[in-house]
């Protein structure tokens, strides 16, 4: 990281593991789970959130001395909503099928708690460049969890990754299926997203005991 000072680099690397927005800060779970049945949708969702969070952080940071603190929530919501509309229109123009899969969850980026949380906690008190890095870092931490959950759900649920049949063809019985392997269709249903995420949190906390909660 020659371009960034140590302090700035920490803004990006911290949220990836030790201060992950989903597993540690418990933010942005709403949209994180519903769209992770396919890896592709998770990646697109992660990129959309990254675009909105990084740009929104910059905008709020530029406006931070102008916004009256009493109406800041509404101002923040309007900024996010405008950015999300742009993302939604871009998705509809270039990836129509995918935007159908994501359906209302693109719109729900507006109320993604990560975004409001970072605006409140960081962008309102920091300069634009640092806010931008913070946005990228937190969105990457969020995206990391989304991609892990999406990876396991798609691999175990339908035996594909990004639509490629990595485990062989279930109908013609090639690859693993020749040995009698079956897809676990349950992984595609919504409850398994919660359980997979629970297991990720379990693994992370047993590696790093300082994160363990009392109850």
């Amino acid at each position: 990281m020659g371009l960034l000072s140590k302090k700035d680099a920490a803004l990006i690397t911290d949220p990836l593991l030790d201060n992950n927005p989903i597993t540690i800060q418990v933010l942005g779970i709403c949209s994180a789970l519903a769209i992770t049945a396919e890896l592709k949708a998770s990646i697109v969702m992660a990129l959309s959130v990254m675009a909105v969070l990084a740009l929104g952080n910059v905008v709020i940071s530029l406006l931070r001395n102008v916004i009256p603190s009493k109406i800041r929530i509404i101002v923040q919501l309007i900024v996010v909503a405008a950015l999300v509309i742009i993302v939604d229109l871009i998705l509809r123009a270039f990836a129509y099928e995918l935007s159908k899969t994501l359906s209302v969850f693109v719109g729900l980026i507006i109320t993604n708690c990560i975004i409001m949380g970072r605006f409140e906690a960081f962008a309102l008190a920091n300069k634009p460049w640092r806010s931008f890095l913070d946005g990228i870092g937190n969105a990457a931490g969020y995206g990391l969890i989304l991609v892990i959950v999406g990876f396991f759900r798609e691999l175990l649920g339908s035996g594909t990754l990004l639509g490629f049949k990595v485990l062989g063809d279930p109908i013609e019985k090639t690859g693993l299926y020749a040995l009698g392997y079956e897809n676990n269709g349950f992984m595609l249903l919504s409850p398994m997203a919660l359980i997979v995420l629970g297991v990720i949190i379990w693994i992370q906390r047993s590696k790093n005991s300082s994160l363990i909660e009392e109850h």
Binding site: V26, S31, I73, A193, L194, E214
Partner: protein, 243 residues
């Protein structure tokens, strides 16, 4: 009948928390005690019941393609639906603020129990999600929009009440240290969601039986075909019709 069906569907089958994961943030953060969970749940029902019908009107008369036709025939071609995110969230934020002011003025006791949760609710995904699902499922009338709002609010209320009660009890059990708190809550929610999936066939059960009937009929038809040529013609006609 329509209302009852939509009401139960939005509570159990399309439960906000278990089927679509809406409002998870506050669901996890405010579910440590039953009493606070009840307060937040009640506030969510109330706000959903107000904002979903309001946004329905907004969608129907301003945002939808051709919705502006009541202004005059020349406005018929306008389609403002790309503005719906910003309009919905603005409505929700102002409504929440308004409700807070009104409740504070007229019922201080209610304000004391609900008030602290109201600002939280403006950014609760369940509220915006309610409006967005209302739009994407094309709910046909204002009354149904109200039913949908109340129903999904009650569904959310039930979910947070249940998890809060479980979390109060689980304090006495010996959970593996790394799972304590967030981890076990996720897994319990997952198990509860599996339970809620069993409501899935409650309203669509009849439809699925009809689908099952078709192959049976065709199987019978095949046997008849062997017996008589005359029957074959009739059967052929019938199968065409059913197809």
């Amino acid at each position: 009948m329509e209302h009852i069906e939509l009401f139960f569907k939005s509570i159990f089958i399309d439960n906000m928390v278990f089927a679509t994961f809406l409002g998870m943030c506050s669901y996890l953060a405010v579910s440590k005690k039953v009493s606070t969970a009840v307060g937040l749940g009640a506030a969510v029902i109330f706000v959903l019941a107000v904002t979903v019908p309001l946004n329905w009107l907004l969608d129907q008369y301003i945002l939808k393609e051709g919705a502006l036709v009541w202004l005059g025939p020349e406005y018929a071609e306008y389609d403002l639906s790309f503005l719906s995110f910003i309009m919905f969230i603005a409505t929700i934020a102002t409504m929440v603020q308004l409700v807070e002011i009104i409740v504070e003025k007229f019922s201080p006791s209610l304000y004391n129990s609900l008030g602290i949760f109201l600002p939280l609710i403006a950014v609760n995904c369940a509220i915006l999600g309610g409006s967005l699902f209302m739009q994407s499922r094309e709910i046909p009338s204002l009354g149904l929009a109200l039913t949908y709002g109340v129903g999904s609010g009650i569904g959310w209320f039930l979910a947070i009440l249940a998890i809060a009660a479980i979390r109060e009890k689980i304090r006495y059990s010996n959970v593996p240290p790394a799972l304590r708190g967030l981890g076990i809550t996720f897994i319990i929610t997952g198990l509860m969601a599996i339970g809620f999936m069993s409501f899935g066939g409650m309203l669509t059960g009849g439809d699925e039986e009809k689908k099952d009937d078709k192959p049976k009929v065709e199987a019978k038809v095949d046997k008849v075909e062997v017996k008589k040529e005359e029957a074959k013609v009739i059967v052929a006609e019938n199968t065409n019709i059913t197809q």
